[in-house]
Amino acid sequence: MNADTVPWVALVGNPNSGKTAIFNLLTGMDQKVSNYPGITVEKKLGTGKFNDGTVYHLLDFPGTYSLTPESFDERIVTEQVLQWIHGKNPPAVIVSVVDATNLSRNLYLTTQLLDLGIPIVIALNMMDLVDQTEKIDASSLKKWLCAAAIVPVSALKKSGLNKLKKQVRASILTKPVNNDIFPLEVNKTLETILMPITSLLYTKLGYTPRLAAAQALRLITRNSTLELYNNAIQEGQKINSKTVNELEHLRTVAIKEIEKAELKPSSLEAMLRYQWLDANLAQDRSDHTNQIRKINANEKIDQILTHRWLGPGIFIGLLYFIFQSIFNFASIPMDWIEAGVNWLGKGAVTLVPESNFRGLLIDGIIAGLGAILIFLPQIVILMFFLTLLEDSGYMARVAFMLDRGMTKIGLHGRSVLPLMSGYACAIPGIMSTRTIDNWKERLITMLILPLMSCSARLPVYALMIGAFIPPITVGYIFGLQGLMMVMMYFIGTVTAMILAKIFSLWIKSEGKSSFVMEMPPYRLPILRSVFRQVFIRAKLFLFNAGKIIMAISIILWFLASFPKTDNRGEQTTIHNSFAGKIGHAIEPVIQPLGFDWKVGIALITSFAAREVFVSTMATIYNIENAADDMVQLSDAMKNDMNPSTGLPVFTPLVAVSLMVFYVYAAQCMATFAIIRRETNTWKWPLFMIVYMNVLAYMVSLLVYQGGLWLGFS
């Protein structure tokens, strides 16, 4: 089928309306996630099939409360809508996802969409959660809203979806009925004031009377609406600058008149629309007035989860549980992976004859890959828990509890989630800072986020702790190894907080900070959706990081294996290979931190991605050990002696110094790239690279030299 003839359906709804769950159910695994051009708002496109077998595309839009944009995400929806109005690839149908337990606020957006004249199918989600005492009359709702159809669905119980598809199919290319008249009750005075704008939109731009009236009202209400029209000219939409100038002029005149009539221009649309909605809804619902006094199950749960003392305690307990389980649950699959990689290496030895290629295969590719695969279980477990916390609605409670603390250090309650995602990976964390409306708070969150120990550091910590920190118990219950690990996360986090405060003092602010955050109902996360997100992120990690690691492993194998003979024709060792030379060259700089030339090589390769440290060390030791079998990395490091002093190269102190270096150093090219894209300048990524690496060097120096002075080794 020709791509152009495939109808496309837009999925629009409030945040927390269950929109994404419906998207997943309609499209299955067939979805592509990309970005809108120039910005990093996720564009989720899926393909589904109607019951009659015809294919359609489904585009999932970011959650928004209205068509007057407040945040980056919401702006996307508004911009797209304006393009549709001006005839640029409008959807065949809009599916408006509405949370049935929260009708009036959800329908606000729906009624704005209804002004567009595009057929609207309302998916009345979470019908299963609506109070039995409070009936919703769907057919009456459909009638006064003039929607194409209303379909009760439950994403959780997977019910109503076939009917939804059927209604969407039936609504394609239909004309909305009785949809020409603007339904809001606008009094005569206001109507007269708005008339010049309305008729301009009607005559010059060909809007329907309803759309013209709605846009006129929105132009008055929000300055940003006019900005959108100005942008539309630049995008080459069928609107000229003369019309926009005229609009601007008429707007100024109208606003003055409205103020004269003692009305507030900025609250006009919301006031009128909610009045209309509330009046109509009152007819369709019983028992509405007592709504705010009702203490529902969520509130009861919150009496514990956001309790003055219990709340913060439970949060800390959860964090401890998550990090503990990363180590406990991951050890079994890690053993399997290790055994599998060893088996692969042994197989390669017997199958492939001795050659340069075998060296590359075993010491380069298999060793490099093995070193990274082994940490996949830990990463998956961390991502699983973070996704659970987010999908269940708990994260909003964390933001609520911690906003004050965050504000004090120049951040926002919404910074908590990105920062916590940073424990998994800085990339999704930085991307999720988009929910912070204020630029300064967002920038600071991005700048300190890479200090949260991400899962790429985990391999480094796990390797060094496993090999060099003795598994003893301190204070009766705490394992020293676990404590050391927590310590690494702790110092990174605390430093991030301190730096946030410092940055907030000198980064100038633009606009004001605000915090109006819905506390979504607690929901049992849909496991399928959780696993999908974990799967997608793990795949991204494996492929993106895998590509880099593979390339670096191969380059490194080459640098560490060649030249095969030196100028006197003697067999060379890794010492006088290319890599050895580079490592030796930087050794004087890193020696004060306790690192030798091998670590030097790994530090350089780690600039691409931190986890490369482990594969680099694995490659180096495998090449150094001329035998065919693969060496156990931690054993090799433990047994490594400095040839000139006869002392071990790695000691517990060196291990700590190295881990501290990895806590602070800026070593992830993907992070730099994403910050460049989000801030639209190289200034901030460069700043980040400098501040983090200077910090890493200084703190590491302090730890190692201080440690030596205190008599540690």
Partner: protein, 73 residues
């Protein structure tokens, strides 16, 4: 009186917004506007933010914003 003066469990009807309110349009689009009734559910453990119930949902806002939402006596 403003929302900032409410105690836990108190209900009130929004009367108007003071000009100091930064995120007025966000409040409006979420249906928090003059004439709407709300209940103060709780104050955050560290303070700074409060939780309200408005319409059918719960929302948290900052104390400083609460001081700019005038309620009817």
């Amino acid at each position: 009186m403003t929302v900032g003066d409410l105690h836990r469990g108190d209900t009130a009807v929004v009367k108007s917004f003071l000009s100091g309110l930064d995120s007025q349009s966000r409040f409006l689009e979420m249906g928090i506007l003059p004439g709407v009734e709300l209940r103060l559910v709780k104050i955050a453990p560290l303070g700074g933010t409060i939780e309200l119930k408005v319409r059918d949902y719960y929302v948290s806002i900052r104390q400083q914003d609460a001081l700019n939402i005038v309620i009817e006596n």
